[in-house]
Symmetry: C2
Subunit: 411 residues, 2 copies
């Protein structure tokens, strides 16, 4: 592992010497190569699909895993979009000349070596590799075992293209093996790795966060809330709740827990029940909810659960303060929304709910890089430092101070 990491770390200076045109040229070559080699990639994917059958993976997981001509075309297009973004590095973020003539420039630079740990979808492999290349970072990818052959085929195409363009192929690497131990080792290698981005299950992320000596930006679960305030417009409240929960249930910005102000619960809960029944959503509620509509009981564990399914927990709360403190205790800092026409309650909610994205009168489903005009995203950060919420290419940079003097010494 150390020999492997030494090579990767060494490669990052080669990346620093490439200008934007050179990086874009390679990205476009990679986009073409993926199309050209789609047959090989699909063959490799078939092996993963066969294993998925043997291992009885769920239909949803198999769908995420599958690659075909159209999906490879999508991967290729995503790379061309990344190539079209402005170079996030070498931007002068701030700068001035001080009173003794020191020119102090704060300049954006790549972070260095980034390890990304993720699951299933093989398109993440090419997306992340190319986002890192564009932002000048060497990357170490650790995909899921279930996508092993697909990922290896994609990386082989990318590495071949790098070689053909005389670029150090170590700038984009898969971890040498798929054992759990390789993750355990990787996250202790702060001498060689500057950042770990884990995307995936709660347990994996907790394990990495608790054990990593490399800084971590978590892409953790989304336990998102909608709070329907006493002063809510009912039509907006119902539309937004339905949309946030049911438009796509398996995603991190989908609604999981609905909070309803007690003064309007009697009136709005039956309407909500009717609307959710049409979407076949399984509703679970607290005792106060069940005193109004006849649904299953939601226990404490329910309110801690990211269902990623067509299930919703409902809780009646006394006021905005209780909604805020419930979200503080049960939320995951991802996306939460208040439905209200009252500016004071909106301001309070938006200030005090400590989440990456806080909404007033809109669906939580909007949390993503394209809506926020950040371009392709690495994921949605639920960490609070460095990058929060949709994490775009700029968030893959840090800065350094370059100071130009003319012999100045400190008196």
């Amino acid at each position: 592992m150390i020999d492997f990491l030494k090579k990767v770390k060494k490669s990052k200076n080669d990346l620093l010497l490439l200008n934007n045109a050179e990086k874009n040229n390679i990205l476009e070559e990679i986009a073409k190569s993926l199309i050209k080699n789609s047959e090989d990639i699909i063959k490799a994917n078939a092996k993963d699909m066969a294993n998925a059958d043997t291992n009885d993976l769920s239909l949803a997981l198999k769908d995420r895993l599958l690659l075909n001509e159209e999906r490879i075309k999508g991967m290729s297009e995503a790379i061309n979009q990344i190539s079209a973004l402005p170079d996030p590095t070498n931007r002068v973020l701030d700068g001035f000349t001080n009173n003794i003539g020191l020119e102090i420039h704060k300049v954006s630079v790549p972070i260095g070596v980034i390890g990304v740990i993720y699951e299933s979808r093989p398109n993440v492999t090419s997306d992340v590799a190319c986002l890192c290349l564009k932002s000048g970072n060497a990357c170490i990818l650790k995909g899921g075992k279930e996508a092993r052959f697909s990922n290896e085929a994609i990386i082989e195409v990318i590495k071949k293209t790098l070689k053909q363009n005389n670029i150090n192929e170590n700038i984009i690497s898969l971890v040498p093996d798929y054992s759990r131990e390789s993750v355990a080792k990787l996250i202790k290698m702060d001498k060689f790795v500057d950042l770990i981005i884990p995307r995936g299950g709660e347990k994996l992320i907790k394990y990495i966060n608790d054990n990593s000596s490399v800084p971590v930006i978590k892409h953790d679960k989304g336990l998102c809330h909608v709070y329907i305030d006493k002063y809510a417009d009912f039509e907006k409240a119902i539309n937004i709740s339905i949309n946030a929960k049911t438009q796509r249930v398996g995603v991190c910005n989908a609604l999981e827990s609905l909070l309803v102000h007690q003064d309007i619960a009697k009136e709005i809960l039956p309407k909500l029940e009717k609307a959710f029944n049409e979407k076949k959503t399984l509703l679970k509620g607290c005792e106060k909810t069940r005193a109004i509509i006849d649904i299953d009981l939601a226990n404490d564990e329910d309110f801690h659960t990211e269902y990623l399914d067509n299930i919703l927990s409902i809780k009646v709360v006394k006021n905005t303060d209780e909604a805020i403190s419930h979200i503080g205790a049960y939320g995951s800092g991802h996306s939460d929304s208040i439905i209200s026409e009252n500016i004071n309650n909106i301001n309070k909610f938006l200030s005090l709910v400590d989440s990456a994205c806080v909404y007033a009168n809109a669906s939580t489903r909007f949390t993503d890089g394209s809506v926020f005009e950040l371009g392709a995203e690495v994921g949605i950060s639920t960490s609070k430092l460095h990058a929060r919420g949709p994490m775009g290419i700029n968030d893959l940079t840090t800065y350094k101070f370059k100071i130009y003097g003319n012999g100045q010494i400190r008196e």
Copy 2:
């Protein structure tokens, strides 16, 4: 510990509700109270000083520990300067209305609860407490045992002032005890603490970094280099080397290792030796250096050592590339300087040396918050994420996205 942390976490929302004028008012009251209670603080400090005698602390450490009227006045003035800074929170960093009318605002917000672990100088206690208050963060302070009575006296004055102004006193707290275990516990409390800032010895920082599940921004050692290029102006090279090494030897931005291009080594090393002899600097060199000037041998360990003393290691290098790779292997990512009149070598050095502050033709001693016009500083970050180099009050904030809708749902 958990009860203590729950109280601190709860207090952070009280802070969010204070506006800038209210925060400044409290800061000014604290500044006054420190002066008013200086007698009590000095009495408490005398206990620490007596223990320092018993424990045979070095003169330098005792000097850092000592408080007197003048130093307390300095602490008070520092707080008034913090109060005069613009509020770093609630700034709209970016924002736009998208094509379906969602108003997306990226707004600076406090990080939340910050734990700061530091040593000796009791003025750090009031500085950090007030920087956190100004930036809306609750803070947990863990000072050194050697400054225990001084820190407790300072915090008592601050807490009394908070109470008198009806502010939740838990926003500024000392850890309940001085055991090593309390640090071990604190750094595992990611449910309650959002950031740990360790300032101090290398071992302490490594321990915290390796074991913390809370994100860490290290304020680690400064193993700073000056590289004298083949194309250096000798007068600048000698002045800067002398200044960076000897103007103040016990600080993190002082020079520790001097690198000299082989083509000029014969000419410049005797001049450097003469200049450093006048400053009584103990010189140690690699074999190539010792073939030119008669000094002690610097072994591999020397090049890894932050002396914090009037000692300098010297190495002769082949070229700028070797200087860069030496700094990559031995440096601490703090501050490094090239002395050269050649723009290509300067650009290469400034691009490829991966340190927070990279200088051309200036002393490394300039790395601090006041020179960089950041105001009072929390320290010098040697981490690469979130904040790098001198860390001012803006770096104690993160951001959230506030999204204002009017019923928008995702199609």
